[in-house]
């Protein structure tokens, strides 16, 4: 089982390297753009990463409207 697991981690790592190349190749000259590479999550497949770390559920909020808001008067 450990060999199987090691093979899986290696495959995930290889996929990560490919993904980094792609992410860094799009808009490379844009000002201060993000850069991507090896970190603690590189041994995870994206679906594993999502299943472990991306567990927040979306919620819908009302759109903010400045109408109906009372301005705070100038007080000390």
């Amino acid at each position: 089982p450990s060999t199987r697991s090691a093979k899986r981690r290696t495959a995930a790592f290889r996929e990560s390297l490919k993904r980094h190349r792609y992410l860094n190749s799009v808009f490379p000259h844009e000002n201060a753009t993000a850069f991507y590479g090896i970190n603690q999550f590189s041994y995870l497949f994206p679906e594993e990463f999502k299943a472990i770390y991306l567990r927040s559920e979306p919620s819908r909020c009302p759109r903010y409207s400045s109408e109906g808001q009372t301005p705070v008067p100038n007080i000390s």
Partner: protein, 214 residues
């Protein structure tokens, strides 16, 4: 609006936490906001218990997931007092909710507000200045590989899957950005933080924004 503002400069933001393999980002973001707003009001800056929210917020699913807005609704409705992290430490797994006596010191919230600020990120920045760090949800699929710089692409609005805390913004350069505290430890990103472009609702950062009143 100032060109740059970061609540960290006022020493009211606790250090970056590590949720480990627990899907409790929703709890860490809410607890982070409570810690900061309490410190802004003059109380000492202290780590509060995210584990308490993970175990006790019955409308959520602990380490299997949850929503920061549900956690805020729960905190507001039950007036649960958040105790210190040292009293109820993080275990990275679901546990039975521990109850404390009324005499136990803790922090309850007085309320919260939640809005969709998409197309109104300047107003969101004003809310950050007025209310303290903001709890937001984002699409963080591409954050798996993030090392630094300002995220401007490779994520979508309307597809939130992660909750984080916005502590500030920087508009001094050509690309204005939000300063965002994550909960994946300080070795991830820029000391545990990530920068997200301001003004185009990148990663849906303005879709669901909550502020806590303490």
């Amino acid at each position: 609006l100032p060109l740059r503002f970061d609540w960290r400069d006022k020493h009211v933001v606790t250090s970056v936490r590590n949720q480990q393999t627990c899907g409790g980002c929703w709890a860490f973001s809410v607890v982070g906001a409570v810690e900061s707003v309490r410190a802004i009001r003059g109380a000492p800056l202290e780590d509060l218990s995210a584990q308490q929210v993970i175990d006790c917020s019955y409308s959520n699913f602990g380490c299997s997931g949850g929503s920061p807005l549900s956690a805020l609704i729960w905190l507001n409705k039950t007036q649960e007092k958040l105790v210190r992290d040292s009293e109820y430490p993080f275990t990275a797994q679901n546990g039975l909710c521990r109850y404390f006596s009324r005499a136990q010191p803790g922090v309850s919230i007085q309320g919260y507000v939640a809005y969709d600020f998409s197309d109104q990120e300047n107003v969101m920045a004003r809310a950050l200045l007025l209310s303290g760090p903001l709890v937001v949800t984002v699409d963080a699929v591409s954050w798996q590989d993030y090392l630094g710089g300002i995220i401007q692409h490779h994520c979508s609005s309307g597809k939130a899957n992660h909750a984080v805390l916005v502590t500030g913004f920087d508009r001094t350069g050509r690309t204005p950005y939000w300063i965002v505290r994550n909960s994946w430890g300080s070795s991830w990103g820029v000391g545990g933080y990530v920068y997200v472009r301001m003004g185009s609702n990148v990663c849906g950062i303005a879709d669901s924004v909550s502020a806590v009143l303490v």
